[in-house]
Symmetry: C2
Subunit: 325 residues, 2 copies
């Protein structure tokens, strides 16, 4: 069979035009990923070589640091959504600028349908390079204020901080501390502002001594909690900046022979898979990490510039680390 | 410039022969990944299309379920090793046979340098399909007894069980319980046998009432611990089957107003990144997950059938959940 007639046979088998088959064979980019994968498989079955170009069905996921129990949830969401769309997910880390450049050069050379960037915002130079290589980009959980220039997917951090604090107020708490992440991190700031609003709507004064900052890990929260408990009028509840911080609060309690929620109510943020491993299991604000990654992947492949920012809803997950005052 | 002279220019720039450049351009498989990536990038810079074939620099990582804090460590190890070798890691999940087949068809269609299979052993039919598609395979943490037929990388589970139990014996414990994973899981069985040997070498009798089984999650261990503590002569220490089980032991202690190590010493297995988040931080047996994945990746790309099984060493990490009897 001559090549031309094989192409028409494949076209009719795949239910597409011969020109679409030809496009896929030559590495053209304007064929939907799932269709492309189906046609490419048929082409290869018939002995054709298929050019690997942009859009050959691989999406790059670039994670700032693969270290933290929530990255696996994001990855799971991206992999499951990619499976449905017939594309595959390449995972990369980029702890520093050199690693980012190395990834970018490699991705440009082999081709990619786009990049999901987690916890890392490309520099202006990186953005120019991405644009030159025509590599689409969607940020997940952008570290700074979202802008119209870069598409991004996050969660309702502000409302989450509000919900967490309201939950404690409804339990009768009036002395509520908050441990926030580093100042300047967009999600941490939004959560903190939600805390302030919940106090205000309940007519409670904001006591600046109860507003603390620490890195988003157990260690920082552990030390901050010691300071809070040594106050003459210590708080009865704490809103942690994330689940890692909540684990640190529980560690300090354990060291002092205290226990949540009897001695201090603690609420986390994220609902990482191991939030239920805590002693006691953590009450927390769930951000739908897997769904965020899936949404980002679909946005990436949609080719649309709008909407430029999507926030998926947070939900309160009540376990056992919070209770009545 | 005609195509032939571009190829020689690229060959001299890359320091390889023209036939190597031509091989990469045509999707040949016998060029080292890093060299291939360099040549492919030059070819594309000069406007050549490079055929995507087996060995275009992508390795598939197939994870049974992306759910559990240790999968991220394996992934990190694979991604870092891949970065050094100039290849990329595609992540896939295969919770069931249908998902596995879907992945296999797609991988065969687009090409892959090989597959790292985590916590999932392909069926005989899968193995035949892999062999037909000439896709190399390395298992990580094989669920059953390693055989010469499939290359695999694991850790010294038997010695780890021995080391964990010796640590408790050295602290003066004589009544030591063990919570093992499901019977029939290779790594769980090896850890349990290590426990038995440690008791025997210390001249301690094995009390079958202290040998328990549960799934490798907090829940199972939580319930087993309640039974152990209700014995007339309860154990003073527990060897958990993994860190998840150790978290479950700590949860039960907390519910009863007890605390490790004062009331019960607990040692885990794995040293997942969040082992230090426990209250108190977990003493555990570290399996070098990232190094295991990196070793598996190098073995996969080496093309060698030997060695067919590698075990990387476990180490004791002493934190605060174990103490003198």
């Amino acid at each position: 069979m001559d090549p031309g007639s094989t192409l028409s046979a494949i076209a009719s088998q795949a239910g597409v035009s011969v020109s679409t088959v030809s496009k896929v064979r030559n590495g053209g980019t304007d064929v939907a990923p799932a269709t492309r994968a189906r046609i490419a498989a048929l082409l290869r079955q018939h002995g054709h070589q298929v050019v690997s170009a942009r859009g050959f069905g691989v999406v790059d996921m670039l994670i700032g640091a693969l270290h933290g129990p929530w990255s696996e949830e994001l990855l799971r969401g991206a992999v499951e959504a990619a499976d449905e769309l017939g594309v595959s997910v390449l995972v990369n880390t980029a702890a520093d600028h050199a690693a980012y450049s190395r990834w970018l050069d490699r991705a440009a050379a082999r081709g990619t349908s786009g990049v999901l960037s987690v916890l890392r915002e490309p520099s202006e130079a990186d953005l120019r390079k991405l644009a030159r290589a025509k590599i689409p980009l969607v940020l997940i959980d952008p570290p700074r204020e979202p802008t119209a220039g870069i598409r991004s997917v996050g969660t309702t951090n502000w409302q989450g901080g509000l919900t967490a604090t309201r939950h404690l107020i409804e339990l009768g708490h009036r002395q509520i501390a908050v441990i926030s992440g580093q100042e300047g991190v967009w999600s941490s700031r939004a959560r903190l502002e939600g805390y302030r609003v919940a106090l205000a709507e309940a007519g409670l004064p904001a006591d600046e001594r109860l507003i603390c900052h620490g890195n988003l890990s157990p260690d920082g929260a552990h030390d901050v909690t010691a300071v809070l408990l040594d106050m003459p009028d210590p708080p009865t509840a704490v809103v942690a900046g994330n689940d890692g911080q909540a684990f640190g609060v529980l560690q300090l309690l354990g060291e002092r022979g205290l226990r949540a929620p009897r001695d201090l109510s603690v609420i986390g943020f994220d609902d990482v898979p191991i939030a239920s491993w805590a002693s006691p299991p953590l009450t927390t604000i769930r951000q739908p990490l897997a769904a965020m990654a899936a949404t980002a992947l679909r946005l990436l492949l949609s080719g649309s510039a709008e909407p430029h920012h999507i926030e998926l809803a947070t939900t309160l997950v009540v376990r056992q680390s919070t209770g009545p005052v």
